[in-house]
């Protein structure tokens, strides 16, 4: 079984630019989550999709972040315009069942550096 795949693995952009991160979940997993780890801090929840619908986006920091999930398959997270404090590692995770208690399968993350 292929795992959760994230692209790119690293991205370095300048403040004010736009970046789009992509996540391909495990095939058949309806639930897709985005998390972020800022340096020195804990991993924090951003949002949760069930198929193509946003179930919970309470962790999204502000309206510069836009997440989509096309046809309930892959997801993208766009940051526009990027700010310095957006730097960190962005993780995507997926699961089969509909609640957080089921094991989350994480991708290897996208390391975003905003200069």
């Amino acid at each position: 079984e292929a795992g959760v795949t994230q692209f790119p693995s690293h991205s370095v952009i300048e403040k004010g630019q736009t970046v789009t991160l992509r996540c391909d979940p495990i095939s058949g997993h309806d639930n897709l989550y985005w998390y972020r780890r800022v340096m020195g801090k804990e991993i924090k929840f951003l949002l949760h999709f069930v198929k193509e619908s946003k179930q919970d986006e309470s962790g999204m920091p502000n309206n510069r972040f836009l997440a989509e999930r096309t046809g309930g398959t892959y997801s993208t997270l766009k940051v526009q315009p990027a700010e310095l404090e957006d730097s960190g590692v962005y993780f995507c995770a997926s699961s089969q069942e509909g609640w957080f208690g089921s094991p989350l399968h994480f991708g290897n993350g996208t390391r975003l550096t905003v200069t």
Partner: protein, 110 residues
């Protein structure tokens, strides 16, 4: 506000030297406590879920236990391949997000 505090931040052990990692939590009702392992450059990998005080789970050299205020991850006779960051996370009742601690970086020296 839910909080998860892990200690120590870093732990260095000799191969075969058993020890425990601590996860203290404050949460309005606990639905589940989770342990993950994270290797450098990788995403977290699920280890255990604990649901109620007194529960224990084991996997190879790892054993996780849970009380009403904290969880321990016991590592028995560790090997260098056990070196990783171990993350603890809690979930409140309802379909709520996991709240993670900062993790403990474990290094096992041969």
């Amino acid at each position: 506000e839910d909080q998860v505090t892990q200690s120590p931040e870093a732990l260095r052990l000799q191969e075969g030297e058993s020890s425990s990692l601590n996860c203290s939590y404050t949460v309005s009702g606990l639905r589940g406590l989770f342990w993950y392992r994270q290797d450098p450059g990788k995403g977290p990998e699920f280890l255990f879920t604990l649901y109620s005080a007194g529960e224990e789970k084991e996997k190879e050299r790892l054993k996780a236990t849970l009380t009403k205020k904290e969880s321990f991850l016991h590592i028995t006779a560790p090997k260098p391949e056990d070196s990783a960051t171990y993350l603890c996370a809690v979930q409140r009742p309802g379909n709520t997000p996991l709240v993670f601690g900062k993790g403990t970086r474990l290094s096992v020296i041969a």
